[in-house]
């Protein structure tokens, strides 16, 4: 700790602090333009100059100068103010003054400073900038005439997003921020630069001229897309979410968002939303009132053959509780959620080994991890903002990143990243091989661990040399990975999961947990094993047990039973299985076979079109409640807008349906319901809803210690040896099927595609954008080809978000599908 005096006040701060941070701690505000809390100090704007007694003769930039013992700092004097004013005058020489039409006006840091320091005239004259505006993409408008060259965009894109779109070009007065070859912005469009820009140089295009900042009502909520659970702040005007505001005070995402969170909100305002219940009459879905629709639902569920309930994983915890009550009232134990296909298996695997069904640590703990193992490079695509934490760990803390994956991706390009590129579906083999090396070399932590002998026995099949031959990963890479994991003081294993990865989920959970135990990661005080569900409340669904009850059927069993005609009714909430589930043919047969199908959704999805009753539900922006994210953090959702037409929240629909079924909801509002969650999971008991602050509450505490330490032998699988194999997964720009209704993600990736390697494309004489016929599993589909360097030879990748592609006719839940290709 270091003692110093700032403006006559004594302060003691850690020696890593800068003068600016020390002043901030005692509430002294030093003006800044280029400083940002989450970025490394830069010292570009010279607005934060202060006087230091020991360094007399010149002014010192407070944001880059570390504190030293006995420092005496003055943050404000006539001289300092004069200099700050001059700095502003310099900035304003070239800066175009178009505040009235600049969307930043009202929250512009340059405008605020100019006002605060009363810079009303300028002693200097010069030419105003006249750069063309970059409108080459639909998301971010770049107007370099307004730029103050603070470099925040350059730094955030490099340090946090790790994309590196921007750079300073030219020198002196000509200096500007430009993209590669000044060709305009073409990146992953996460919009971090927009949120960081202190002026109006970078602005969100969807929000252009929509409102002034002071007109927006701010509502803090949680993003409804992936399991990352980023907090978002809606900017609401005229009962519409106009934009997502920058807010780094809430949550654990530091104000970071991905394209889905920042630009994917528009589906809530969509005019395609369902506004009235629909009931099938004479083969047609016609509008009806709630009374009629709910009566029909209650009747359909009571017809005798039994009901199966399939839920999505984007319902709030409170709605899950009510859904369980609906299931009880309908007398069925056939209850499952879409994660029952995939994420459930993962948590069960981890449960067997560690006695836990959730991540052991929290996201920020990874920021200073020293070794990170990401299983599947897709992790950045399924959980981009957690991916940004990994970026920071790698780039700032120098963490070693290991990627076990079947294709390359963002992670594999990071410095210090070692990719163990294996054949599709062989992740378990590779993890087993790493375990084998750990045990062989005697570096494994085996104290107090059960099942060691059985594991050792089973691992004889996974000697590195053999696995190397099987998967194509080199023996040295496996050995090096094992060594690094064993040496890790603060390691993390990341495992992201989604509907498109249903194969091996349980096995992968076990293998990863085995490795976490043997490498000692599970017994660290922080970080450890992260199991991350695909959707916003996947963890909540597991925690609250939206799973088959005693003798109840799971998703697959329900679909089978319905297809056979032995299940009377199917009640599908917030999911479009026809598009998103593997084996679409089975889902179609189930929808046909079931006597009665209810779909509760925002849009008339392909599944809803096949339903007998369609109930219009509310989006995440329209409801109160809580989500539990992939690090067990319970965060509050708040309604920002009203639902369109007669659409109701899932909570309200369940409550009315309970009445129709002759029962009553256990509580009247989501707020009251929260207290009841403790009945379903002990970890939720004792948490007070009102105590859930801006940072949420992590159930079980910041770190979970393993409850058991059972090594479980697990077998991998032989990779396919065919010429071509197809894998599915998530594209960075989309999440589930919902984003296909959102303008932002759709503009980035408007249509389905299949990605393949340059080699394969050359062999097939295929050009970018050509149609490719893919045959496999007795079905044939056509997709547009996208050629890239991500995939190894023989592997094709198709994202699973788009309805109508028929992708799930091919993909029936395998790790990889054998396919034949034709032009």
């Amino acid at each position: 700790m270091v003692n110093l005096t700032i403006d006559g006040t004594q302060v003691t701060v850690p020696k890593s602090f800068t003068i600016y941070q020390a002043a901030e701690q005692i509430g002294i505000k030093i003006p800044v333009l280029c400083y940002a809390k989450k970025l490394l100090p830069f010292g570009a704007c010279r607005v934060c100059l202060v006087e230091v007694e020991q360094m007399k003769g010149r002014l010192i930039p407070s944001c880059t100068t570390p504190v030293t013992e006995g420092m005496v700092v003055t943050t404000s004097s006539d001289e300092i103010l004069k200099v700050r004013k001059t700095v502003l005058e310099f900035l304003l020489v070239n800066h175009v003054i178009e505040c009235p039409v600049c969307d930043k006006g009202g929250e512009c840091e340059l405008q605020d400073l100019t006002y605060e320091l009363e810079v009303v005239t300028n002693r200097f004259v010069g030419e105003k900038f006249d750069h063309p505006t970059d409108e080459s993409n639909p998301f971010i408008e770049r107007n370099m005439n307004r730029c103050v060259l603070c470099g925040r965009c350059v730094r955030v894109c490099d340090e946090i997003v790790s994309y590196g779109s921007y750079s300073f070009v030219e020198r002196g007065f000509e200096t500007k921020i430009a993209t590669a070859f000044d060709r305009g912005l073409d990146c992953e469009f996460c919009g971090q630069c927009v949120s960081m820009c202190p002026v109006g140089a970078l602005l969100p295009r969807p929000f252009k001229f929509k409102a002034r900042p002071w007109q927006l009502k701010h509502v803090d909520s949680v993003c409804g897309y992936c399991g990352n659970g980023c907090t978002v702040t809606f900017g609401v005007k005229d009962n519409q979410v106009q934009t997502i505001r920058f807010n780094d005070k809430n949550g654990v995402n530091d104000g970071n968002l991905c394209i889905r969170g920042r630009f994917g909100y528009s589906y809530v305002n969509s005019d395609q939303r369902l506004t009235r219940p629909l009931v099938r009459k004479n083969g047609e879905l016609v509008e009806a009132d709630w009374e009629e629709a709910l009566t029909a639902v209650a009747e359909g569920m009571n017809r005798g053959k039994g009901t199966g309930i399939i839920s999505g994983a984007r319902l709030s915890n409170e709605e899950f509780l009510l859904l369980k009550e609906v299931a009880a009232a309908a007398g069925t134990t056939n209850l499952d959620h879409s994660g029952g296909e995939c994420y459930k298996g993962l948590t069960e695997g981890v449960q067997q080994v560690l006695g836990l069904s959730a991540s052991t640590g929290t996201f920020p703990q990874v920021e200073d991890a020293d070794v990170i193992l990401s299983i599947r490079s897709d992790f950045y695509e399924t959980h981009p903002v957690f991916g940004m934490v990994v970026n920071q760990a790698v780039k700032r803390a120098g963490a070693k990143l290991l990627v076990v994956s079947d294709k390359k991706g963002k992670f594999t390009k990071l410095p210090n990243a070692e990719t163990l590129l294996g054949k599709p579906g062989t992740e378990v083999n590779i993890l087993n091989a790493i375990c084998a090396v750990l045990l062989e070399s005697g570096k494994a932590v085996t104290e107090g661990v059960a099942g060691l002998d059985e594991l050792k026995q089973s691992l004889t099949d996974y000697a590195p040399a053999r696995v190397a031959e099987q998967t194509g990963v080199s023996v040295e890479a496996i050995e090096a990975a094992a060594e690094q994991l064993a040496a890790a003081e603060k390691g993390a294993i990341l495992l992201g999961y989604g509907l498109s990865y249903t194969a091996n989920s349980r096995e992968l959970g076990i293998a990863a947990a085995n490795l976490a135990l043997l490498s000692g990661l599970a017994d660290q005080d922080e970080a450890g094993l992260y199991v991350c569900g695909e959707k916003a409340n996947s963890q909540g669904a597991i925690d609250l047990g939206i799973l088959p009850g005693e003798s109840g059927l799971g998703v697959q069993a329900m679909l089978d039973a319905a297809a056979r005609g032995s299940l009377g009714a199917l009640y599908i909430v917030g999911e479009d299985p026809l598009t998103s589930f593997p084996d679409g043919a089975k889902v179609e047969a189930a929808l046909k076979g079931a006597e009665f199908v209810v779909v509760q959704d925002l849009f008339l999805s392909p599944t809803a079109q096949a339903a007998d009753v369609v109930l219009p539900a509310a989006s995440f922006a329209e409801k109160d409640g809580t989500f539990t994210n992939a690090e067990r953090r319970i965060q509050r959702l708040r309604a920002g807008i009203k639902s369109p037409g007669e659409a109701l929240t899932d909570f309200a629909i369940f409550a009315s349906l309970l009445e129709k079924l002759g029962a009553a909801a256990s509580a009247a509002t989501p707020g009251e319901t929260f207290a009841g969650l403790g009945r379903l999971n002990d970890a939720y008991a004792g948490i007070d809803l009102n105590a859930i602050g801006p940072q949420g509450v992590v159930w079980g505490g910041e770190h979970l210690q393993p409850k058991v330490r059972n090594l479980v032998p697990v077998s991998g699988r032989e990779p396919l040896t065919t010429r071509y194999q197809l894998i599915t997964g998530s594209a960075l720009y989309h999440s589930g099927t919902t984003t296909t209704h959102a303008k932002g993600p759709l503009e980035a990736v408007p249509e389905p595609y299949v990605e393949l390697s340059r080699e394969d494309a050359a062999e097939l004489q295929l050009a970018e954008g050509d149609q490719l016929r893919i045959k496999g599993n007795g079905a044939e589909i056509r997709l547009k080809a996208k050629i890239g360097a991500r995939l190894p030879k023989g592997v094709l990748f198709a994202p699973n978000h788009f309805p109508g592609t028929g992708l799930n006719r091919l993909y029936k839940g395998e790790a990889a599908v054998v396919v034949e290709l034709n032009k």
């Binding site: 505040c99 009235p100 039409v101 006006g105 505006t133 252009k208 001229f209 929509k210 409102a211 002034r212 002071w214 007109q215």
Partner: protein, 133 residues
């Protein structure tokens, strides 16, 4: 006492003589208000459109909340008011909107004859405000 009485009344009677009245025979006679009078608003045109850039400062400053602005982007990519409307029934003619305008797009004229028959007629839209003389 009677003397003072007559004196006083003579002043009164003097005012009754022709040419001494201050009453203006409105509407036959109309007074010209001073330049700083705050009457009906006028949107200043500039070339083919209103000068207004839809910055929302006037509705923000308006104490009576009588101004409605909706901004949009025109073909040239400029910000313009798609809707600009003043509800004169609410307006208190304080002139803050004129003061707030950064581009001098709104002015107040000397027009004080604002009576009308229907409530709707008191809502001045963009075109009417542009036509104000």
């Amino acid at each position: 006492m009677i003397k003072e009485f007559i004196q006083g009344l003579s002043i009164t009677f003097k005012h009754l003589l022709p040419g001494h009245s201050t009453t203006v025979q409105y509407p036959k006679v109309k007074l010209q208000p001073s330049d700083r009078f705050r009457g009906l608003h006028r949107l200043v045109p500039s070339h083919d459109r209103a000068k207004c850039v839809a910055c929302y400062l006037c509705p923000t400053v308006c104490p009576a909340k009588c101004i409605t602005v909706e901004s949009a982007e025109n073909e040239k990519g400029e910000k313009y008011p798609r809707v600009y409307q003043i509800d004169l029934l609410r307006c208190i003619f304080c002139g803050y909107c004129v003061e707030a305008c950064p581009v001098e797009a709104i002015e107040m004229t000397g027009n004080y004859e604002l009576a009308n028959y229907h409530r709707d007629d008191f809502v001045f839209d963009k075109q009417r405000l542009l036509n104000t003389k």
